[in-house]
């Protein structure tokens, strides 16, 4: 261990490169040479890449854990973070009164990303192993593993990136891999469409993420984690928003017809920058993590191969949104409104998706909606400020949902051998009694099932119970006293933050419990439908025609169309059963990582330093204010056991209800209910027709816009622009063609002309000057460019007559100017051929010293103490970043949030009250 610590120091943690690069190598090798490597080669490469990455993650995790334990022993509460610096990518301009923001390709690992990378590589390895069998007969075997490895690489970039832009690269990378893998069997139109839907829906969210990055650059001046945490107090500022642009009075038709409306539109609205950033970030999270209203892509994404559904669309990628919220927890807690939105959206999504899952028959669809629902739980958790609880649910969900998907894939694998129809082999109604035929798959499925419905002692119980408990007891308070931003100059309230309503926790808790009951019901329905009862798939091949004679279909005894009874469903091979059994076992025991009711919570303690900034928000608020950031219900401790009761009741009601309906009554009550309420049943079965609603409104609007644009395209672009351009090009070509005689001599003659011109250029003198100003002393030095045999004659007083008759060798001249003075200086240059060239330079010294007042170009330097500071070129003292003069009030309003802007570093903890929140305007 000591040797490893020495080998990988915390500031040059090159092990991250190993974690990242191995899957990338796997992707490149499999993608480029996969066809030649053969199946064994591809398998070896893919498994080695992910396995090696997992081992490296394990090593880095243990190093991190020991470092954190050592730091904790010393009493430090700082989060331990291992950095691996890549290179500086680009510098962007921040606000005018701030230094430029360097964007670096850096990677880091801390407690949060360490756990997450373990999950990604560990679960990823199991799913790779599973896929070697599941995809064995596919023609695109190497392509599949190239995509899968690329996905793991992108996911690791997302997790390990040390700043938002790097995270965004990974974010887009996983989106791309998701698209490629959903449409993996792209020869079916439906699959390709599902891939496109996922990709486009994600773009909407990514837009939010980009906006959030821009806002953070503007307000915080940094995009890496440390910089955002350090400068986040800058987000507590007022942003003025114009609802519908700025209508200048008396200029628009609207204004004259509806003055009151325009007046209402013109009234500026104020929000805090933290809310803006938070809502934009959450839009990104909602897209990636399939939250309402952007969840529609995830159920369709099940068109991809089942291992993909397990890895990308259940265990890892879709939890990236939760990860981002946890990562940016320090920013989110500054805005109670955004946190409440997240919690509410999460709870609503959990309910909505669970209600759809109640009636679906396709087992992958049920699991997909279950995933959406569980993601909703995670957002409910992080929304109420229980970041570690939400993240714990990410962990347990990765185990049990991956297990469920893979086990469902095992069932589908067995069904497909008999049915050869993708849809029919996923339909629950064709299954039943599988527990007899597939005991291992059943064991794994059952373990994951008891976990997801929350049977006490399993991982799902602990994580879900923790979220429900926190939903009631935890809330987000104002980060500033009474939620009021005070203008430091006028002392008036500039902005009032929106606080949590008193009924909020109760509502969220009730929604969570209701969702838990539905979860227990639909998951039990699924398990009973697949594994209990009698097998209903015997006659499924009736009417099925073999498309052509094909020896791969050899296990079919005959080819006539008619009732055929296939062989019994068979248990899957070990490559499939071993991963699901491991995952099943994990989904049972992983709960003890964070079993709060039993007071065993190692994960929480491990993550605590990461969420330090979220809990309390102490660096932002004024001391002594009542409540700040995440607060707990005063009697939270005593409520732990009472609040568990409704959750357990929900479990019993849901699972028991399913037992009664589907096992004892064989689905009779469900059918009766569906017949009694056909409209409601159809509505829920059609997923509340949300897709249709989007189709009609948003997509329809875009379509009609496109139809209009097409007219413009045909008439203006194709009709006028294209023809004119073509004519110009053709005419020019016709003219220029005459120059191309095809005779070597003609070309040589033209070359001679060119050489002659070049010669003339060298023979003629050139009076070129450079001026080097020194604004502080007013001394301007003019230097003439040197040349062959050049001699110079200066005219320093600008009267048109040279200072002396003789040409001299003096190539530079110093001129002294007063402030605001303007002066002309002449220069004559004579070269060796005695030709003379003249030039006049006008010098002007500005009245105001630009180097002190203007924004100028500020360079960032790192001092010996590691702090960053801005420095003006030519001056060695650090720059004071000063408040710019207030702009004159105009109709456009002041720029939002002008306030003191420190350089993007951590604020000095000794002066917590240094930055008054508020708006100087």
């Amino acid at each position: 261990m000591h040797a490893l610590q020495k080998l990988f120091p915390p500031t040059e943690f090159a092990l991250l490169a190993v974690i990242l690069v191995l899957p990338l190598i796997g992707a490149i090798v499999n993608g480029v040479f996969g066809k030649r490597l053969g199946k064994e080669g591809v398998t070896t490469m893919a498994l080695f890449a992910i396995g090696g990455s997992f081992l490296a993650s394990l090593v880095s995790f243990s190093l991190l854990a020991s470092a954190q334990a050592a730091a904790h022993a010393k009493g430090s509460e700082e989060a331990v973070r291992f950095l691996w610096k890549g290179w500086e990518w680009v510098r962007v301009s921040g606000r005018h009164d701030m230094a430029q923001v360097p964007l670096s390709i850096d990677f880091s690992v801390d407690a949060l990303s360490g756990v997450m990378s373990l999950v990604v590589t560990g679960v990823g390895f199991l799913i790779h192993l599973y896929s070697t069998k599941y995809m064995e007969k596919d023609a695109g075997y190497h392509r599949f593993f190239a995509y899968l490895n690329l996905f793991v690489f992108s996911m690791l970039v997302l997790i390990l990136g040390n700043s938002l832009p790097v995270l965004f690269v990974g974010w887009e990378g996983v989106g791309l891999c998701s698209y490629l893998l959903i449409g993996f069997w792209f020869d079916d139109e439906k699959n390709a469409a599902a891939g496109k839907k996922a990709f486009i829906t994600n773009r909407i969210g990514d837009f939010g993420l980009i906006v959030a990055m821009a806002l953070l650059i503007y307000y915080v001046g940094s995009l890496d984690w440390a910089g955002i945490e350090g400068g986040r107090s800058n987000l507590l500022t007022r942003v003025q928003m114009w609802p519908v642009g700025n209508q200048v009075p008396g200029t628009s038709l609207l204004q004259s017809s509806m003055p009151s409306l325009v007046e209402a539109l013109n009234r500026p609205r104020y929000v805090s920058a933290a809310s803006l950033v938070g809502i934009a970030l959450f839009l990104g999270c909602a897209g990636k993590s399939a939250q309402f209203p952007l969840y529609v892509w995830l159920p369709d994404a099940m068109a991809g191969p089942t291992p993909v559904s397990a890895l990308i669309h259940a265990a890892t990628m879709v939890t990236a949104g939760v990860y981002l919220v946890c990562r940016m927890a320090g920013v989110f807690v500054l805005s109670p409104a955004v946190m409440f939105t997240i919690a509410l959206v999460g709870a609503f999504t959990a309910l909505l998706a669970a209600s759809i899952a109640l009636v679906q028959n396709d087992i992958k669809k049920v699991l997909a909606y279950s995933t959406v629902s569980q993601l909703g739980y995670m957002f409910l958790g992080v929304g109420v400020g229980a970041f570690s609880a939400g993240f714990f649910h990410v962990l347990t969900h990765a185990f049990f949902k991956a297990c469920l998907f893979l086990a469902a894939g095992s069932v589908i694998y067995a069904m497909h051998k008999r049915i050869h129809d993708t849809d029919a082999s996923q339909d629950m109604r064709n299954m039943g009694g599988m527990k007899k035929y597939m005991p291992h798959t059943f064991a794994a499925f059952a373990m994951a099932w008891v976990a997801i419905i929350g049977v006490p002692g399993t991982s799902g119980f602990f994580s879900k119970d923790e979220i429900l408990f926190k939903a009631y007891t935890s809330s987000v308070a104002f980060p500033i006293p009474d939620g009021k931003l005070i203008d430091p100059r006028s002392g008036k309230v500039a902005l009032e933050l929106w606080g949590w309503p008193s009924w909020g926790p109760t509502l969220l808790y009730a929604m969570g419990v209701l969702g838990a009951m539905m979860t227990a019901f639909y998951m039990s329905r699924l398990v009973f439908g697949i594994f209990w009862g009698d097998f209903k798939g015997w006659k499924i091949v009736k009417g099925w025609k073999e498309p052509e004679h094909d020896e791969h279909h050899g296990h079919h005894d005959d080819h006539h169309a008619g009732p055929v009874e296939g062989p019994k469903p068979q248990e899957s091979p070990w490559q499939i059963t071993v991963p699901i059994l491991i995952l099943g076992a994990l989904s049972i025991v992983a709960g003890f990582l964070n079993a709060h009711p039993l007071h065993i919570a190692p994960l929480d303690h491990f993550l605590e330093p990461v969420f330090k900034f979220a809990n309390g928000a102490k660096d932002v608020v004024a001391a002594g204010s009542k409540g700040a950031g995440v607060v707990e219900h005063p009697s939270a401790h005593g409520l732990m056991w009472p609040l568990m009761a409704p959750g357990l009741l929900a479990l019993v009601a849901g699972a028991g209800g399913a037992f009664w309906v589907y096992l004892q009554q064989a689905g009779g009550p469900a059918k009766a209910l569906a017949e009694k309420l056909p409209g409601l049943h159809a509505l829920v079965y059609d997923k509340w027709r949300v897709d249709e609603f989007y189709e009609e409104t948003i997509i329809g609007a875009v379509d009609s816009l496109a139809e209009f644009a097409v007219v413009f395209d045909r008439i203006v672009v194709d009709g006028i622009v294209a023809r004119v351009t073509a004519f110009i090009v053709a005419a020019t070509g016709t003219g220029l063609r005459r120059l191309q005689t095809g005779h070597v001599q003609a070309y040589a003659a033209v070359m001679v002309v060119g050489v002659g011109g070049l010669g003339w250029f060298f023979v003629a003198p050139h009076a070129t000057t450079t001026v080097k100003p020194d604004e502080a002393t007013g001394s301007y030095q003019i230097t003439a460019a040197p040349g062959l045999g050049y001699q110079y004659r200066w005219d320093s007083d600008g009267d048109g007559k040279p200072d002396s008759d003789q040409f001299g060798a003096e190539a530079s001249l110093s001129v002294s100017l007063e402030r605001g003075q303007q002066k002309k200086v002449g220069l004559e240059v004579k070269n060796a051929f005695e030709r003379v060239s003249k030039r006049q330079v006008t010098l002007f010294r500005p009245k105001v010293d630009a180097s002190k007042e203007g924004p100028g170009v500020i360079q960032i330097e790192q001092g010996p103490d590691g702090q960053l500071r801005g420095v003006m070129p030519g001056q060695n003292k650090p720059l004071e970043l000063r408040r710019p003069p207030a702009p004159p009030p105009g109709p456009g309003g002041p720029p939002p949030g002008l306030r003191m802007a420190p350089p993007p570093t951590r604020p000095n903890p000794a002066e917590p009250h240094q930055h008054q929140p508020g708006d100087v305007h």
Partner: protein, 103 residues
């Protein structure tokens, strides 16, 4: 008459260069054109060596001329090879016939 001046050599070099240039521009026989190029290169060499004779600080002029000779040899070999290939194609050594790109 005074002793040798560098001007004499440079003047001779200029005249030979111009003769070569005229030859290249006027003649249509590719062989002669190639020879004209050799003339021009020789003229440049002469100027280089003459200037170096005047400024004896170093011998970069000689070195330059040396490399010019090497390049000229390569150029003659490739040029004549192209000439042969062209002759095989068109059965002519007239540069006006090298106009396939135009037609």
């Amino acid at each position: 008459m005074m002793g040798q001046l560098v001007q004499h050599y440079v003047l001779l070099s200029t005249v030979i260069f111009l003769i070569g240039a005229i030859g290249f521009l006027v003649r249509r026989n590719i062989l002669v054109q190639l020879m004209s190029i050799e003339l021009m290169l020789n003229a440049v060499n002469l100027a280089l060596v003459a200037f170096n004779r005047q400024h004896q600080g170093n011998m970069n002029g000689h070195m330059f001329a040396f490399f010019v000779i090497a390049v000229a040899a390569a150029e003659a070999a490739v040029g004549l090879a192209i000439l042969l290939a062209f002759y095989r194609l068109k059965a002519s050594v007239n540069s006006d016939d090298a106009d396939t790109l135009k037609h």
